[in-house]
């Protein structure tokens, strides 16, 4: 029973027998899982300097309209940030006068169903599901519920794992959404 227990304790890695299972060692799987949780917690707590330190220079942050199966830029997305625009987004959040996050939303997300979808060289594509509760304290005081699937592209660097891409496909992205000024 020991191998199964270890497996379920860490991360399911793609389809059984797909080869991904064998390609990613147990230590890396633990690192990936820890990274995904850390990224989520820093976002929950609006710790944007620390969050930004997790991204690579070629980071792409994408929240598509509908399924993310189109080339970003060919039609409009909620968010389609290259590294420079992501930097602007974080600078705006840090000004202290960004009313949409002044004060910051109180947030907690639950991340689950983590799978390593592919591994190639130093890069790993990681899928997960999330549910996020947001207390929109800036005006309405409403408790807002967000849910979706995240696909991370993580890269092993000399500083450890870093995030080269984050795609967030919201389950209700084709319906009007309330303010989304934080990192989801």
């Amino acid at each position: 029973m020991a191998p199964e227990a270890t497996e379920s304790e860490s991360i399911a890695s793609g389809t059984v027998g797909s080869g991904v299972r064998d390609a990613v060692d147990e230590l890396t799987r633990r690192d990936i899982k820890a990274f995904v949780y850390l990224e989520a917690r820093l976002a929950d707590e609006s710790r944007y300097d620390e969050w930004e330190a997790l991204v690579t220079d070629d980071m792409h942050y994408w929240v598509p309209f509908g399924p993310g199966d189109y080339e970003p830029g060919t039609r409009v997305s909620y968010i389609n940030d290259n590294r420079a625009r992501l930097g602007t987004r974080i600078r705006q959040l840090a000004t202290g006068v960004h009313h949409a996050q002044d004060p910051p939303s109180s947030m907690r997300r639950v991340v689950s169903n983590i799978e390593i979808l592919s591994a190639e060289g130093d890069e790993f594509e990681v899928g997960s599901n999330f549910v996020l509760y947001e207390h929109a304290v800036q005006a309405t005081g409403h408790l807002r519920l967000w849910a979706g699937r995240t696909t991370h592209r993580l890269r092993r660097t000399s500083d450890g794992l870093r995030m080269a891409a984050k795609k967030v496909e919201l389950v209700n992205s084709t319906s009007p959404l309330p303010n989304l000024p934080f990192i989801i």
């Binding site: 039609r75 705006q92 949409a100 009007p176």
Partner: protein
């Protein structure tokens, strides 16, 4: 106050609630006012529906609302645009629950009634059970549908007069200037619409979108995060120093006119001629060097076509009232034809920065509107809770069917509300034996 309010004409004295220099906050929150607006503005008047380019092929349709009335805008068999109720004429089931689609006909999922694309009833299962003439059982349709340069408008009551009268010289010029941004004169709205749901009254959006006074404060975070935006001249130069102007046209149409503030051609696109050479050459080829130069310097208008069409520079937005306290602000980038796609890629990127629930601008506007709405939730007519709109009243100018003033003046707000008062109060006077 009851939670559900029946529509009862002339329940309010709109000439009192909308004064020359102030309006009462209950106009944002009172459910009876909202019911009046759905009738007098969104049923009795012209409302923007969509653009012809959204439904290029026969059978293409998009789902929209005229006020709160659900409709489909569809390319019918004749190649014309039809607007039909998205509601079966039998028992009222929504026919098309999606945002858009393509069909040869519309079939109701409940009992199988089937309609042609223009709303004509084609057939019903078990026809012997009906004594009525099924020709009388088509989908509800607005009394008037008309378009200008591909922008489609509908008037449910059919009593609003002509679309050209509604647009007037001001609205016509605004749509011309928007459409002329495309070298072919035809814009294309094909990059999907994104909706931003805001917990505020719909009227805060024509106001906020055309408020030149708020930029320094509401959008302070953007000015600090991106020091060199093209709004700099407008917001940084101070009162009476900016060359920009605020304009209110006859018919409730509004503009923040930035044209004279731009210090370089294509400033509104945040780029230079070399980066979009193909687009600039196409403009010159279509319009000639003089007019093309004007287009490249002036850029697109930032304007409202009353009541729900926001010509948002290189975006088009629709303001959709949902209930007194909920509005959806939809937007899509304004794409151009007759040039390579690189300029359209640039326009999509610009749209993603400016508009929508994760953008750098409208997120702050949304929170301000939600704070305003909350502050008036308890407002009742005749009590505290007035909104002051007097800024610039003594220095605005009137000429050629328009009022204009300093970019920071509330000329646009007053233009919106005074037209609103005309519609709301005159309808009250004509639809009842006025008891006041």
């Amino acid at each position: 106050m009851a939670l559900t309010v029946q529509y009862s004409p002339a329940s309010h004295d709109y000439r009192h609630l909308v004064q020359d220099d102030r309006i009462h906050g209950s106009l944002y929150t009172d459910p009876a006012v909202f019911a009046d607006e759905m009738q007098r503005i969104f049923t009795d008047g012209w409302v923007f529906v969509g653009h012809e380019s959204e439904v290029p092929e026969v059978g293409d349709w998009v789902s929209r609302r005229l006020g709160t009335e659900p409709v489909l805008m569809v390319r019918d068999r004749d190649g014309a645009i039809s607007v039909v109720a998205n509601r079966c004429a039998h028992r009222g089931t929504t026919l098309c629950p999606q945002n858009d689609g393509h069909d040869r006909s519309f079939r109701c999922a409940y009992h199988g009634w089937t309609y042609d694309l223009d709303g004509t009833l084609l057939g019903v299962p078990g026809p012997k059970g009906f004594h009525k003439d099924t020709a009388d059982l088509g989908l509800d349709r607005p009394g008037q549908v008309d378009g200008y340069r591909g922008f489609v408008f509908a008037n449910r009551s059919g009593t609003a007069g002509s679309l050209s009268d509604h647009l007037g010289a001001g609205g016509t010029d605004l749509i011309d200037r928007t459409s002329n941004m495309s070298p072919t004169g035809r814009v294309r709205l094909s990059a999907v619409w994104i909706g931003q749901r805001i917990d505020s009254n719909w009227k805060m959006w024509p106001e906020s979108d055309h408020d030149g006074y708020h930029l320094n404060f509401t959008h302070a975070s953007m000015a600090r995060a991106v020091p060199d935006t093209y709004y700099d001249e407008i917001v940084m130069t101070g009162e009476e120093a900016s060359e920009s102007a605020t304009r209110a046209y006859d018919g409730g149409h509004l503009e923040l006119d930035f044209r004279r503030s731009y210090t370089a051609e294509l400033a509104w696109l945040g780029t230079t001629r070399e980066k979009v050479a193909d687009y600039c050459e196409a403009l010159e080829g279509s319009y000639g060097p003089e007019k093309a130069k004007t287009i490249m310097w002036d850029g697109p208008p930032h304007a409202l076509v009353f009541p729900n069409l926001f010509l948002a520079e290189m975006n088009i937005a629709r303001i959709e009232p949902v209930s007194p306290g909920v509005t959806v602000h939809h937007h899509t980038p304004l794409l151009v034809e007759g040039t390579d796609e690189s300029v359209n890629r640039r326009l999509v990127l610009q749209s993603e920065a400016a508009m929508g629930p994760a953008s750098f601008f409208l997120t702050d506007d949304a929170v301000i509107a939600e704070r305003m709405h909350r502050a008036f939730e308890g407002a009742a007519a005749g009590e505290d809770g007035w909104v002051d709109l007097s800024r610039g009243l003594e220095r605005e100018h009137v000429e050629d069917g328009q009022r204009w003033s300093d970019i920071t003046d509330e000329t646009t707000n007053r233009g919106f509300w005074h037209h609103y008062r005309n519609l709301m109060a005159s309808a009250a006077a004509s639809s009842t034996a006025d008891t006041r």
